[in-house]
Symmetry: C2
Subunit: 359 residues, 2 copies
Amino acid sequence: MTPIVPVILSGGSGTRLWPMSTPEQPKQMLALTAEQTMLQLTAARASSEQYDAPIVVANARHAEMIEEQLTAIGCRPQALILEPMGRNTAPAIALAALCANDPSAPLLVMPSDHVIEDVAAFHAAINAALPMVEQGWLVTFGITPDAPETGYGYIKVGEPVASGVHRVDRFVEKPPRAAAEAMLASGDHAWNGGIFLFRADAFLDALARHEPVMLHAVRRAVAEGEQSGSRICPSAEAFAEAPNQSIDYAVMEKSDRVAVVPVTMGWNDVGSWDALHAISITDAAGNAIRGEVIALDTNNCFVRSDGARVAMVGVSDLIVVASGGDMLILPRGRSQDVKALLEAMKDKPRRASTPPDAS
Amino acid sequence: MTPIVPVILSGGSGTRLWPMSTPEQPKQMLALTAEQTMLQLTAARASSEQYDAPIVVANARHAEMIEEQLTAIGCRPQALILEPMGRNTAPAIALAALCANDPSAPLLVMPSDHVIEDVAAFHAAINAALPMVEQGWLVTFGITPDAPETGYGYIKVGEPVASGVHRVDRFVEKPPRAAAEAMLASGDHAWNGGIFLFRADAFLDALARHEPVMLHAVRRAVAEGEQSGSRICPSAEAFAEAPNQSIDYAVMEKSDRVAVVPVTMGWNDVGSWDALHAISITDAAGNAIRGEVIALDTNNCFVRSDGARVAMVGVSDLIVVASGGDMLILPRGRSQDVKALLEAMKDKPRRASTPPDAS
């Protein structure tokens, strides 16, 4: 059987876990959940004999960091495709599909910055999907929801088409709270985790049908691009012509033979400090602490420092993150507001490091 | 009339305002309340023609910093006495009294790290005290209390002995809360602010009577010490013989002719971050912020940074201080717990700066 080609999408710009994640070193490059970085964990998750060497699609500025991190775990990608600019997931996956050595190979598309705690469940879902994938179906994995999250897209799970595989009834954009609660209660909706399995040619066929302009632009970007070893640099001029669209919008929602494999696998997109807190091990006082931290009479706090020494006393339910000369403080449950902080900081360029209190 | 000699005590070790104050740069060396440091403000407070050049008693490690700060405001001390070790206030003041050019000069003893907002009221109190001081009385200034503070000593104000000057009925050590409330309610108690006015010879006479061992030790420390320009280095061996005692315990509580001048002058000992917050100017949201700070939806917080950029959202009533690679976070009202944090840190030496999350 044709080995599966992991396609690792490393396009995240890394704002939501600021100050640890930054444009220079986004979330997937950080060891947030384990000794290994999230990119390394993602690559390791699809590295058995069932898998070919991965294709990584990334921002050009991260090329060396990615190569270093993958080399460190003995992973040698068949291609490292360096996007000249971010154009969302559909063009990124099209790049990978066009560069795959074998056009009939199943591509396992994975964001590089998600946590999957139950890798066996993940592999079981992949194996459930494979027969339909061989027949040309586009398969997405539907995460069993356990909360009425408003930050994810949902999938309405339809009738079964094979063991463990269902037709997709409907994709639902990030819903308002009431709709999320209704979908959670219904029992027949899953989160859209952004993980896909399909043959490269099946994906490209669907793209040709639904987004011919995109396919043309990406095809030309590859043809007119440059290659050096495993590094592939698509033509920026051509790639810029590709519409900025997600795979859901460009292909999945429009195709007929789209299936979902519902799976419960300890998935988490680590999309905020609260999300990371939720999957962190806590001490007896409910604190999840990493780095040089002294905490007295402190409860249910999430504290990370990779530089400053943080001393705290008498606080509860705070998220505190110190990194690279920056310090973030907010209450648990408010970590979506990091975006607003970054927005506010745009107008306030960093000062020189002269202490304002120096005499 | 003999000019008054300011005696500036710079012995504080600077733990309560950690991480900004440190043993290397204690509170009095910092510009906490204004453009000038607290030492500079103290010196400037007693610099009119009524005053002689000051005598400064300090820890030897701060000699250069003190000279730089005083030079910067055009103040040239008649003596900078460098204590070989801290022996509390009584020996420190004895050093100054023995080194004063004129033994009959009134000494105005001032801690170097207090705030006095109403300097005119301070000067009026000094002038009220002077006639009694000339006659050999030992005068202390009694701060009109406005809260049942348990962190200060109290003075029971007795019968008047001159205009604005009262006999001291009794010195009261730092009281429990109920006693503090009773004294506040009584209307005839004042805080002991640690500011004194007396002739050098009167103080030395009292010391000879009540603490002859201390006087002998200090006298020998000066005689066997070294002098270089205005710097005076008492003999460590001799000074170590001086009992470690406060002026209150050694002299004021034991002498007969001890008077208090009650005064309301916006005094604050800035003994904690809460105390500094209390005298800080706040913005419309009740925040007192200095340094590179981005605060959204943040209320009644005290935030200081002289290095790290601090970003906070959705928090209230927090004290946050960033300085020199250290970060302090605690709720308002808990700043006395800085001591416990420093205690806890003693057992945790600073790590090297390797980021714990680096991959």
